[in-house]
Symmetry: C2
Subunit: 230 residues, 2 copies
Amino acid sequence: MNTNLLNRGGESPATLATGIYERLKADILSARLEPGRKLQLRFLMEQYGAGQTPLREALNRLTSEDLVVGKEQRGFFVQSISLDELAELTKTRCWVEGLALRESMANANAEWEEALLVAHHRLDRTPRSLDPEHFENNPEWDFHHRNFHALLIGNCASRPLIGFCEQLADRLHRYRSLSSRKAFRVRNVAEEHATILKTVLNRQAEDAVRLLQRHYEQTADFITQDLSTK
Amino acid sequence: MNTNLLNRGGESPATLATGIYERLKADILSARLEPGRKLQLRFLMEQYGAGQTPLREALNRLTSEDLVVGKEQRGFFVQSISLDELAELTKTRCWVEGLALRESMANANAEWEEALLVAHHRLDRTPRSLDPEHFENNPEWDFHHRNFHALLIGNCASRPLIGFCEQLADRLHRYRSLSSRKAFRVRNVAEEHATILKTVLNRQAEDAVRLLQRHYEQTADFITQDLSTK
DNA sequence: AATTCGCAAAATTTATAAATTATTGGCTTG
DNA sequence: CAAGCCAATAATTTATAAATTTTGCGAATT
């Protein structure tokens, strides 16, 4: 259902529309296309070098993911953001991923735990920022971060639930892209991930769920602070 | 996010594509377009009397709802069904609506409870079948049934969660359309709804959640039986 | 004098039709 | 009998046309 943010391993998309979809999505998630912006066909056509049909196709797909809104007869816009929505998305993610993690752990097996360990290792050895002085987001870190979280809940044996979590992650990613830099040194995210991994491997389900939820809530708190002082 | 299955109150859709989307969706949910069927543009164009653009638009929206799958360069197909998927969807719905109902009830207030009472009343007075002898699905009942269940979880204060539940309901609706008739007299669905309403109004959250989940599981059981003896 | 209402021009979205590109199946050839 | 090529079919994309909304200007009214 969801495509990678990064690194499709060289495969070029089979159809132009799919390629546009991926590029558009990446640009919205990274906030290069800022919230609320009008997406005029003409602008997009020259920006992405494609005709109207594949563009409409991409926009329509993004609409069902709530990253784009289409006002009938009046064109498409990047979905706008709000602190309310941030809170709502975070709350929902905590509920649903809590559920999913509990199930994942109920189905725990060696294979999953080992994959988790590897995913965490990869995340852990990837620098958060491209530049150690001034924060500059490292897309590779985003990729491994996303994978680690996806894997945590990925053992719950419900593809629809996983898909829903991915969508929430996407929609929240935008807020993270917007709230830049600030939490860079303040917060020790790496340690939070390590602790979560530990409790999961120890099969302390309730602790793990609590930690994961707290992880998301803290992220939201930082973003809220950052965004409301602008 | 989701549009009505029935009765838009006379408003004609603002755009052709939206109209096609609604009709296509209704036809897929009612299984008039059977699972697995290939949706050829040419066929759809004459069937729905529209050009390619609005059709592609509709198909793309349905794709993100998992009602249609698009194989690149090879066209669109109605999503196929399986007992596995039925089980997965039901399990997921039980988890997620359990969560949502608990939250709804935590936010309970008079207005919501009264709306629920009315919704149930409307459902209760609508006949299940158009013909009291031989079962013939009554679309009005579907409409009220859907509304009642939507309202149950509708007070949970999370639009994303509500949207996800609607999508699960849609995808499960197809299975119900397929497994016709059999449960018509066997099961007393009306009583199940009445009991759920009672426990909700009595604010017995855990009982209500259990009953709702059992309601969905029983439905799935009947459909499974029906479908596997064919 | 300022503001509102209405009409016409411009811009933009939506829909259709035509052209291009990819895939499938059959036929020929090695 | 297998492999490769060619024709037919179908999806994708571009280009064109129609419909709708927005914008700007001017007149009329408060």
